[in-house]
Subunit: 359 residues, 2 copies
Amino acid sequence: MIITSHALRTFTEEVFLRMKFSANDAKQAADVLLSADLRGIDSHGVARLIGYVRLWEAGRINPTPDIRIVHETPSTATLDADAGLGLIVAVKAMEIAMQKAESVGTGWVAVRNSNHFGIAGYHAMLALPKDMIGMAMTNASPLVAPTFSKERLLGTNPIAVAIPAHHEPPFVADFATTTVANGKLEILQRKQQDAPEGWVQDMKGNISTDPSALKSGGALLPLGSDFQRSSYKGYCLGAWVDIFSAVLPAAGYGPWAPPFVNFLPLPENPPGQGLGHFLGAMRVDGFQPAQDFKNHMDTWIRRFRSAETIEGQEAVLIPGDPERAQEALREKEGIPLLEPVVKDLQEVAQKLNIENPFE
Amino acid sequence: MIITSHALRTFTEEVFLRMKFSANDAKQAADVLLSADLRGIDSHGVARLIGYVRLWEAGRINPTPDIRIVHETPSTATLDADAGLGLIVAVKAMEIAMQKAESVGTGWVAVRNSNHFGIAGYHAMLALPKDMIGMAMTNASPLVAPTFSKERLLGTNPIAVAIPAHHEPPFVADFATTTVANGKLEILQRKQQDAPEGWVQDMKGNISTDPSALKSGGALLPLGSDFQRSSYKGYCLGAWVDIFSAVLPAAGYGPWAPPFVNFLPLPENPPGQGLGHFLGAMRVDGFQPAQDFKNHMDTWIRRFRSAETIEGQEAVLIPGDPERAQEALREKEGIPLLEPVVKDLQEVAQKLNIENPFE
């Protein structure tokens, strides 16, 4: 089915209100999820709503957290999110990062004791209207095997970087540090198709083309896909994100990251609390006058966009282009929801006694 | 042949002295190159020395630059390196970053008008003795095609991140954002062997297994290797490094990065000056007490090191392990030099009238 972004937003906001989030926080959380659905990152939008509801039911998400700065310098801070919802916590962390950038040029905020924060790109893009570069990272449930490991020790640990331009739209990179995320494997399972080599390994650590290998005790592979194609670089990237997001603030790092799904138990004796994030903001005029920088970004973007393409390809894309195109389309034509997602949302509506808009 | 690190260091220092570098700078430059040779990154050690000499002969390297801060805030600065040698410039930039971190928690320095800075890891590791996290990036001669592009618009643009631990050695990631760097293709050309799929594309943009495809107008591929394995993520990484290193300080970005080899002409009408770098330092006690952080890093490292391995593999490695092992070995047993490198060094000795230690 296809639903307008307005109707989906209203419903999502209502869900968070019923979970006792404040009006502002409910609006904020809905905005992060809708942003994912509008931008075509369907795995991180309302498809996750039932997951958040279940974590809330299990007492793992605190709708009225006392989010505190526990350590800081003029350009850094660590927040304890008090088991708050990442969708909201990360926005508050980014606000602190931007205040610090306002005052000393850059601001860097690590967060512990949080939960899933949605798409990293949303948080990074908050910096753009202030002529700042935004960065966002988070650790996540362990699904990824480091090079040579049978065990899953890292999450899909995304990195987002948002950089403002002038006449051109901003540069927005936002990607998991694995070859692919789990969502792509699930699509192939449904279609009963093989996975390309380099996406997943089986429980023995052999590269597999079985899209259900992850479910059967295997692991996602780091960006690079195999040793010959330098998957250890993807391992470095995922490890870096884990350390910045979760070791810096003393959250649950590596295999101790709490699982997103409520039916998996929390890891025993974690060395830190909850999930961790790392947010950053840099004033571009910390390096050169803002207008000069933005003119250079226009030049950069136009040069790359006008590169000679491989036959059959229309254009070289700038990171953020595909998501921006989706957003324009879905604002106008509505957001498509898959059957299983609609079912989950109907279940949420019933659970929380909200009028069902999915009929 | 095999040469002691002491003899190679003395020779290298002498080379820089003959090029009219100050005693301190000659020592510094030699240390960066020797660090690469000791750590087994042979492509970035004395194998590059003749390249630096030729750039100096061509007037593209200034041995006595006036390196100036042209823009700054308490946590940021832009340096104009006055066509200085990156090996030395990046160390000075890192010192400024660390001073700023000392005073406000973090320091971030972008550099323009520079030259090749050697291994990124060297500069990042300078932060470790101060209980800081070090970061280093640089742009480089355009050899890499963005996704869908036939043209080379990016360099191998490395990222290095160095993170201190307590009893364990530090975490040191240092990698090019391409599947592989050019050096690996050159080895296969010498051996007349095919390259694995995913390293290089030919001049039409088709994935190629010809190790000389790059020389024949092709391009290196971003980390990920092909579209199905998410090479656009490697493109995002390389682009990010280019923008931080070269757009932020207004250096020669994208295809306007100056070539390392002196026989290629400089790009026409570049929008910025020379090569660019980006260096950062973050005090770990900007986030939590330093000792607590370093204990957590020990826990992180030990957990990863003890992960169950794939059959046939001895251990899961921590980024920096292989280089540290090489360093210990080569400090003791000497540094192996390939025949063509020895020839180049003999040529350098003759050019600069230095006693030839390579016999």
